[in-house]
């Protein structure tokens, strides 16, 4: 099926589509179109959310009630949040939205197959370089089957009305009319190992290195901070691995029987063993460099390596901490280039 107002296949979308596919969806599409390996998938666009919400608001208003809340009245926020989330999670989708999602799901999974999927919130504000809004919406891993998928899509939408999200929006005075969410539905990588990487040093801001953190199993254990990952630093250009900090990786996230994920104790023989080989570190570096080149700025990337040894990128967003710093140039060109040597010969004054 082709992309539509409701569905956007990764191949058809990019960053410029962020208003309708959200930050995460736009970024995944952008990566896919740049031939960076991302698991296949589609985005349920914001229009689907809008139609769902309009249908619900015909019965009872939602947005005006949220906007009427005071950020300091936590009780009221909690009460309304609970009520709205339940409504969103339990209401039927409009027929046209529902059928398009089912059709896209069938096409993604293939006739008669039910591979595990990841269903991930993709808010239109999330992942913008200037908002640290990321992480307030939900992600559902290892969902299996159409029913579970549609339920997770609704849950993602419902997470927009979590107490934390509402409080955040009220605090920043964000208009509810501008709040929309797209949802990414994509093939799940059965990760042997996974983690994050930055195309600069988080410590010094150095852009000539790639810092990689990884652990066994799904990357959620690293992103969620449940395990101290192994840490590697590799020269972006030289490929020299300058840091290898191998930690005790006591736990890993693995698929649970029947869907979802579970904590599993890492087998003793793997706990203190590096989760990445040098060749994998180099391969991750190569991909990180391609992604950064594509975007033209430092990136913060989530990656996974499956049991066949294939690398998949699950997310890439602009690095925000160092990029926002005002820094004086290291040096400016001099009218007489020889003046530069005075840095060395001129003393510390």
């Amino acid at each position: 099926m082709p992309s539509s107002e409701i569905i956007g296949w990764f191949a058809d979308i990019g960053l410029s589509d962020r208003p309708t596919v959200g930050g995460k969806g736009g970024s995944l599409g952008e990566l896919a179109r740049a031939a960076i390996p991302v698991p296949p998938g589609f985005v349920v666009r914001t229009a689907a959310f809008e139609r769902f919400l309009s249908a619900l608001e015909k019965d009872e208003p939602i947005r005006t009630r949220v906007e009427a809340l005071d950020e300091n009245e936590l009780d009221k926020i909690l009460a309304l949040s609970q009520q709205l989330r339940a409504r969103l999670e339990n209401s039927m989708l409009p027929d046209d939205v529902n059928s398009e999602i089912l059709a896209a799901h069938a096409e993604l999974c293939g006739e008669g197959n039910n591979p595990p999927l990841a269903v991930r919130s993709s808010a239109t504000m999330e992942d913008a370089a200037d908002a640290s809004f990321a992480g307030l919406q939900d992600t559902y891993l290892w969902t299996i089957g159409t029913r579970a998928t549609v339920r997770c899509v609704r849950s993602c939408w419902a997470s927009l009305y979590s107490a934390a999200s509402i409080t955040y929006r009220r605090k920043h005075g964000l208009p509810e009319s501008g709040v929309a969410m797209a949802v990414v539905v994509q093939a799940m990588v059965n990760a042997r190992k996974a983690g994050v990487m930055f195309t600069r040093s988080p410590m010094t801001g150095d852009r000539s290195v790639v810092t990689i953190e990884g652990s066994w199993g799904l990357g959620s254990s690293v992103v969620g901070g449940e395990v101290t990952p192994d840490r590697f630093v590799i020269g972006k250009i030289t490929g020299e691995i300058s840091v290898r900090e191998i930690s005790d990786k006591h736990v890993q996230h693995e698929p649970a029987p029947g869907g979802g994920i579970q904590d599993v104790e890492t087998p003793e023989e793997f706990r203190k063993v590096p989760c990445l080989s040098d060749a994998e570190i180099v391969a991750l570096r190569d991909i990180a460099r391609r992604v950064e080149r594509h975007y033209g700025r430092p990136q913060d990337i989530e990656w996974a390596i499956d049991y066949a040894g294939e690398i998949h990128l699950l997310q890439s967003r602009p690095e925000t901490v160092w990029s926002a710093k005002d820094r004086a140039p290291v040096a400016r060109p001099a009218e007489n280039p020889l003046q530069h040597v005075m840095k060395i010969f001129g003393g510390r004054r």
């Binding site: 040093s201 150095d206 290195v209 030289t238 020299e240 280039p337 040597v341 001129g346």
Partner: protein, 609 residues
């Protein structure tokens, strides 16, 4: 080049607290009075120049320190007028050379010197190519002068042709004259040596400093790779060996080159082969002059002999090069490929800079570094190798002459006399030759020579402190930072070295990346090089260009001395071998035959057993 300022109450021992080792007092007194420590020296900071003088110096060899610091000091203080530093003072104790910088503290003086510096150094930078070409001519003329010094001869009767030609000056005069010219040439050579050196390093460090600020985690070796050239003469000796290996194959005489066969035997067997063998020996002569004028050390000790003096080093390498060539490996250094890599590296880092402004400054700095750095790489062959070999061999001729006249038993004993004492012995000899009486030296020198040799052997057994005197808050002397790599951080490491528990890790400069485990071969001198087997890890005090041929068979290299631009580092990178240099203590801590791991990317050597 700023370094962190920390307050430390700890310091190094004062010079006055360091004692001459018992029984060596006379040997210590043989060094000139102006390099003995005095009470006033307690107020200053000194460090042991283990980089250039890792072993106790014989009293003659001290001429190298004398000539070098004279020339370095005048270049800094009087010629280029470095704004913040004058020359280097040096002292000797127990045969060890301690040095200390002379900083310029007064801001007015710095300002005045800055003006002078810019009139002088900037002129050199601006006219570098012309002045460097002129330098090579001067240096070659100096070498030709040294080569042309007359042979030493004190015949029974003055040759008749001298008499008939009315020369009017007897042979003994020329002995003294030749000696004085030999010394004069050596002192002059060191002035040439320092004419460009600090300026060359300064341009390199300017770029280095920029890179470290723009890319805080960049390794020293990466910056070195961006600057290093590949055409320097210092690579030629090794290139010549590859050429000779190929010649041997082309001439069909390669079968004569086998591991463990001495150069004499090889040459004898080649001579028996008729024309093909003779043809190869002619090619050998082409290579030898001048490219085997490379010595097996840094050239600062008389016993660092050249390949020409001892062919065993180059001949030990030939079987390996021949085997490589037969396997179809390209023998020539792939300079075009390496240059393309350098260009790419520079472009890649440039791309990572944040602004056009920074990129423009980067371009200016790398351009200057590329223009001037070839001097830093190229001068060594002419100065520390070719000329120094000529010099020490000329002194050997005086040693042979004096030994013939009974001044001491062995030619090499001449190096136990200071250059002043040697002149007195020569005058003694010329006097006795002219008078027909006996020289006095044979009664005087043998005992002194024995005593001094024993003292050097004794001194070598004792460790000496890495530094003396109060610890400076900062080390801001560009000469010391550039030439010795001494920073405040180094000093803190030295100060705490004794406190750390025994560790199985040795830290050094990450010189060439890669991780390798293997058997350590601790090689203390060039004569031991044939102990290295394929796949061994070379552990040595310092490597220098004449050791390049061993890199074809080793798996990694570790040295006590050296930085990211040292010879070992450059060659290891070229061969793609892991290398850790400047460890300070590897040859003491690693046992011969021990299994070790070398992590050249992190600069760490791990003892595995």
């Amino acid at each position: 080049m700023s370094t962190t300022v920390t307050t430390k109450t700890k310091g190094f021992p004062l010079p006055s607290s360091l004692k001459v080792i018992a029984g060596t007092e006379q040997a210590q007194a043989a060094y000139p009075y102006y390099i003995q420590f005095t009470k006033e020296d307690d107020d200053r900071f000194w460090f042991y120049n283990s980089m250039h003088f890792p072993e106790p110096m014989s009293v003659f060899d001290m001429i190298t320190a004398e000539a070098a610091y004279c020339a370095l000091g005048s270049a800094n203080t009087r010629v280029h007028c470095l704004p913040t530093t004058l020359g280097i003072d040096y002292r000797v104790l127990n045969g060890r050379v301690y040095i200390g910088g002379n900083a310029v503290a007064d801001p007015d003086e710095v300002a005045k010197r800055t003006q002078e510096f810019q009139k002088r150094a900037f002129y050199y930078y601006a006219n570098w190519e012309r002045l460097f070409a002129q330098w090579k001519n001067k240096m070659m003329a100096l070498i030709r002068e040294a080569e042309a010094l007359p042979k030493l001869d004190l015949p029974e009767f003055e040759p008749l042709e001298h008499v008939h030609a009315g020369r009017g000056i007897a042979s003994n005069h020329y002995i003294l004259d030749t000696y004085q010219r030999t010394l004069e040439g050596y002192f002059r050579m060191w002035h040439h040596h320092f004419e460009f050196l600090l300026l060359g390093y300064g341009a390199y460090l300017t770029f280095f400093d920029f890179c470290k600020k723009a890319f805080p985690e960049i390794s020293d070796q990466t910056v070195a790779r961006m600057v290093a050239g590949l055409e320097a003469e210092i690579f030629r000796p090794d290139d010549e060996l590859r050429r000779l290996a190929k010649c041997a194959i082309d001439l069909g005489v390669e079968g004569q080159f086998r591991e463990g066969v001495s150069p004499d035997e090889v040459i004898r067997s080649l001579k028996q082969l008729g024309e093909p063998g003779a043809a190869w020996l002619r090619e050998l002569e082409v290579s030898r002059h001048p490219w085997f004028n490379i010595n097996v050390g840094d050239g600062f000790y008389h016993y660092h002999r050249s390949w020409n003096d001892d062919l065993s080093m180059p001949f030990a390498a030939l079987p390996g090069y021949i085997a490589n060539a037969k396997r179809g490996e390209r023998l020539e250094r792939q300079t075009d490929k390496l240059m393309a890599e350098r260009k790419q590296l520079i472009a890649d880092y440039r791309e990572l800079l944040e602004t056009a402004e920074e990129r423009a400054a980067y371009d200016q700095m790398i351009e200057l570094a590329h223009r001037v750095f070839p001097y830093v790489e190229g001068h060594k062959f002419y100065c520390e190798h070719w000329y120094t070999n000529l010099f020490f061999n000329k002194i050997r001729e005086f040693g042979a002459l004096l030994a013939r006249h009974g001044f001491f038993p062995d030619t090499e004993d001449v190096f136990q006399l200071s250059h002043y004492e040697l002149e007195s012995a020569i005058v003694d000899l010329m006097t006795s030759w002219s008078n027909g009486s006996l020289p006095r030296g044979p009664e005087r020198w043998p005992a002194i020579v024995r005593e001094r040799k024993a003292a050097i052997a004794e001194w070598a057994k004792h460790e000496t402190p890495p530094a003396l005197g109060p610890v400076p808050d900062i080390i801001d002397d560009p000469a010391i930072v550039m030439l010795w790599g001494i920073t405040r951080e180094n000093l803190d490491t030295w100060l705490t070295a004794g406190e750390q528990p025994n560790s199985n890790e040795i830290k050094g400069v990450a010189a060439s990346s890669g991780v390798v485990e293997g058997c350590a071969r601790v090689v203390k001198s060039a004569e031991e090089i044939d102990r290295l087997s394929h796949g061994d890890i070379l552990v040595c005090q310092v490597t220098n260009p004449s050791w390049a041929p061993v890199f074809q068979k080793i798996a990694a290299a570790v040295s006590d001395i050296g930085g990211s631009m040292s010879h070992a580092a450059i060659v290891a990178r070229e061969y793609g071998l892991p290398a850790v240099v400047g460890t300070g203590t590897a040859t003491q801590k690693i046992k011969d035959g021990q299994r070790i791991r070398v992590d050249g990317g992190r600069g760490i050597v791990t003892l595995l057993e």
